[in-house]
């Protein structure tokens, strides 16, 4: 048997075009179908017309014939994965839409454009590692530090000034603290949003939706766990791989109604 195709028709879109594709397909992570500002709706409609002329979308709003596989997971995804990184070098935000047997990713090229590529549902952890350019990291002395519970929220929202806030919590790992002081760091934030409709009880989707936050530096990787107190823990790329698998694997509750 030949290997499963990893990619089919790829697509490069700017941000407005990506919004238009999601809007046209009714994707839950896109602009809402109703209640949009008329100016925005007009711009999206114009972008849709352009995409129809290119064969990406059909007149009825569905995916063009050559893009059914690529855009299929955006219709009604089981899972939406947001994979972001930010720090002194800039920001990037990628999205992966996961359906039961296929997935599509929008890779942020950093210039306002996105590459849409196909992958498999089981290939989502690998897709996230590739999109965020994660990989082997320096090994740190094991250890953990307790943090105020609100600190993780502040980290995500502080963005550019988070570095100075971080340093004082990194005493067990002086090399990492030095990297942060020198501006050689980024925060990696991967979050999952499961679709309520696939669970026997919709509220289970909220309980299952989760995320991971990690500090990525050339001198080591630290992961943060929410809680009271929150924890910063020395981690490895293998630890991160395991977390990504756990975050993106279909929860057992999904299959409860099949039993």
């Amino acid at each position: 048997m030949s290997p499963a195709p990893v990619q089919t028709h790829n697509l490069r879109l700017d941000g407005r075009q990506l919004d238009a594709v999601m809007w046209s397909l009714g994707c839950p992570s896109g602009p809402p179908r109703d209640g949009l500002d008329p100016g925005v709706a007009s711009e999206l409609q114009a972008a849709c017309s352009d995409l129809i002329s290119r064969g990406v979308l059909r007149e009825d709003g569905g995916p063009g014939v050559e893009f059914v596989e690529l855009l299929g997971p955006l219709f009604a995804p089981w899972l939406i994965v947001q994979a972001a990184a930010f720090g002194p070098a800039g920001e990037e935000e990628h999205v992966v839409w996961v359906a039961p047997s296929a997935a599509s990713a929008a890779g942020d090229l950093g210039d306002g454009r996105y590459d849409l590529i196909s992958t498999t549902a089981a290939g989502v952890p690998a897709a996230v590692v590739r999109l965020l350019r994660l990989g082997p990291s320096a090994v740190l002395a094991s250890g953990e530090v307790e943090l105020p519970s609100r600190f993780l929220d502040e980290l995500v929202t502080l963005n550019g000034v988070a570095g100075s806030a971080l340093v004082k919590w990194l005493r067990p790992w002086p090399a990492v603290a030095e990297s942060v002081s020198q501006g050689d760091w980024r925060l990696v934030h991967v979050s999952t949003q499961w679709a309520p409709g696939i669970f026997p009880r919709p509220e289970q989707a909220v309980a299952r939706s989760s995320g991971l936050l990690a500090l990525d530096t050339p001198t080591g990787l630290i992961t943060f766990q929410p809680g009271s107190p929150a924890l910063a823990t020395a981690s490895s790329a293998t630890d991160l791989w395991e977390l990504l698998i756990e975050l993106t694997s279909p929860p057992a509750e999904i299959f409860e109604s099949d039993r």
Partner: protein
């Protein structure tokens, strides 16, 4: 725990009783007795390779390049120092896709002996890695190698 071994190669590992060894003259091969829901049976394979003249770093680099060329969808996730049995090792974590289209995770320990290199390769479906990791790491820490003189 059960001890599985290949007396010809002087290799033994400790794994739970749910693992079985397969006869081989060339390697110590162990498979989980039950097939995972992914359809892929987790495996542990220890092999001895001539590595005369190669440092561990050289051998590791050659191994990575060989795997990069041969594995579909090769992705090097981790490469770090570790321990195999009682020897210093390099530990790789690689994701790839097999010929049946199954996403797999391969964890490999590499170490050098006097005139040969020893590797332990633990492979599972990626979705099984969180539960398989502890099995693989237990096998790696328990590995015993009576190196031929």
């Amino acid at each position: 725990m059960a001890e599985l071994g290949n007396p010809l190669l002087g290799l033994t590992i400790l794994v739970s009783g749910e693992w079985q060894s397969e006869p081989s003259d060339l390697a110590l091969v162990a498979r989980a007795a039950s097939v995972s829901s992914s359809g892929f049976t987790p495996t542990l394979v220890a092999t001895i390779t001539k590595s005369e003249g190669l440092t561990l770093d050289d051998w590791c680099s050659i191994t990575i390049e060989a795997l990069r060329r041969t594995l579909n969808g090769f992705l090097l996730v981790d490469d770090s120092p570790g321990v195999l049995g009682d020897r210093a090792a390099r530990v790789l974590l690689i994701a790839y896709v097999n010929d049946q289209g199954v996403e797999l995770t391969l964890r490999q320990w590499l170490t050098n002996g006097r005139a040969a290199g020893l590797s332990l390769t633990a492979t599972c479906a990626t979705e099984d890695f969180p539960s398989f990791r502890v099995v693989a790491e237990g096998a790696a820490s328990s590995l015993s190698w009576l190196e031929a003189r």
